[in-house]
C-alpha cells in the first residue's frame, strides 16, 4: 500500500506546470513595470497612481499578485517538504503560509481598488 502523507504534494505534474505558467506571468508583468520604472525613475505621485488608474492595469496587477502568491505557495511548500520532516510541524507551517497568502490576496484587492 502506498503511504500517503497528509502534507504531501498530491499533484506533482499539475504544480510543476502551475509553477512555470505563473513564473511566465510574473516575469512578463515585472519586465513591463521594470521598464516603466527605468523610463520614469522619478514618477511623482500623479505619475505613479496614473499607472494604476485604469481598471485594465488594476486587473493585470491583481492577476500578477495572485500568480506571485500561488507561485510562492508551491515554492515554500517544496522547501518545507524538503527540510521539515515531522508531519505536525509541517502541517502547521503549511496552514500558516496558506492563511498568510489568503490574507495577502484580500489585502491586494484593498490596495488596488481602495486607492
Amino acid at each position: 500500500m502506498v503511504n500517503r502523507m497528509v502534507t504531501g504534494a498530491h499533484y506533482g505534474l499539475r504544480d510543476w506546470l502551475a509553477q512555470r505558467v505563473t513564473a511566465v506571468a510574473i516575469a512578463a508583468y515585472s519586465i513591463f513595470v521594470g521598464a516603466w520604472l527605468l523610463l520614469h525613475p522619478q514618477p511623482g505621485y500623479d505619475g505613479w497612481t496614473g499607472l494604476f488608474s485604469s481598471n485594465v492595469m488594476r486587473t493585470f496587477s491583481l492577476l500578477f499578485l495572485l500568480a506571485v502568491f500561488y507561485h510562492a505557495w508551491i515554492g515554500v511548500r517544496d522547501i518545507v517538504m524538503d527540510y521539515v520532516k515531522p508531519a505536525f510541524i509541517r502541517l502547521a507551517i503549511h496552514v500558516v503560509v496558506i492563511l498568510l497568502l489568503v490574507l495577502y490576496t484580500l489585502w491586494s484587492v484593498q490596495i488596488l481598488w481602495g486607492m
Partner: protein, 123 residues
C-alpha cells in the same frame, strides 16, 4: 537503503556551480516570500495618498531600507534569471555539463549587473 554510502562532510564537499545557483534560487525565493508584507505595505502607502507617498519617498532615502530593497532586488533578479535558465533546460535548449556551467555563470553575472543598473538608475 541502510547500507548506501554517505558522505556529508560539508567542509570537504564542494558545491558545483549549478548547485550554487540552485541553492541561491531557493534562498532568494524564500527571502522574497518573507518580504511580501513589506513590499505590499510599501505599494499600499505609495498609492494611498500624496502624504503617504511622500513619507515612503522619505523612508526610501534611509540607508537601511535602501540596503534591504537592493538585496531584495538582487534576490528577485537572481530568481528571475535562474528561473529562465530552468525553463530553457526544460525545453532542452540548455543541456550538457559545459552549458550547465556557462549558463550558471551567465545567471550570476546578469542578475548582478541588472541589480547594479537598477540601483544606479533608481537612486
Amino acid at each position: 537503503m541502510p547500507s548506501r554510502p554517505k558522505h556529508l562532510d560539508l567542509f570537504s564537499i564542494k558545491l558545483p556551480l549549478p548547485g550554487f545557483v540552485s541553492i541561491l534560487h531557493r534562498v532568494s525565493g524564500a527571502l522574497l516570500f518573507l518580504a511580501l508584507p513589506l513590499l505590499l505595505w510599501l505599494l499600499q502607502q505609495s498609492l494611498r495618498s500624496i502624504e503617504t507617498y511622500t513619507r515612503v519617498s522619505e523612508l526610501l532615502q534611509s540607508g537601511l531600507l535602501r540596503l534591504v530593497l537592493l538585496g531584495l532586488l538582487w534576490g528577485f533578479l537572481h530568481h528571475l534569471c535562474a528561473g529562465i535558465r530552468y525553463l530553457l533546460i526544460d525545453a532542452h535548449l540548455v543541456s550538457g555539463l559545459a552549458q550547465a556551467r556557462s549558463s550558471s555563470w551567465l545567471v550570476l553575472a546578469v542578475s548582478l549587473s541588472l541589480t547594479a543598473l537598477f540601483g544606479v538608475r533608481l537612486w
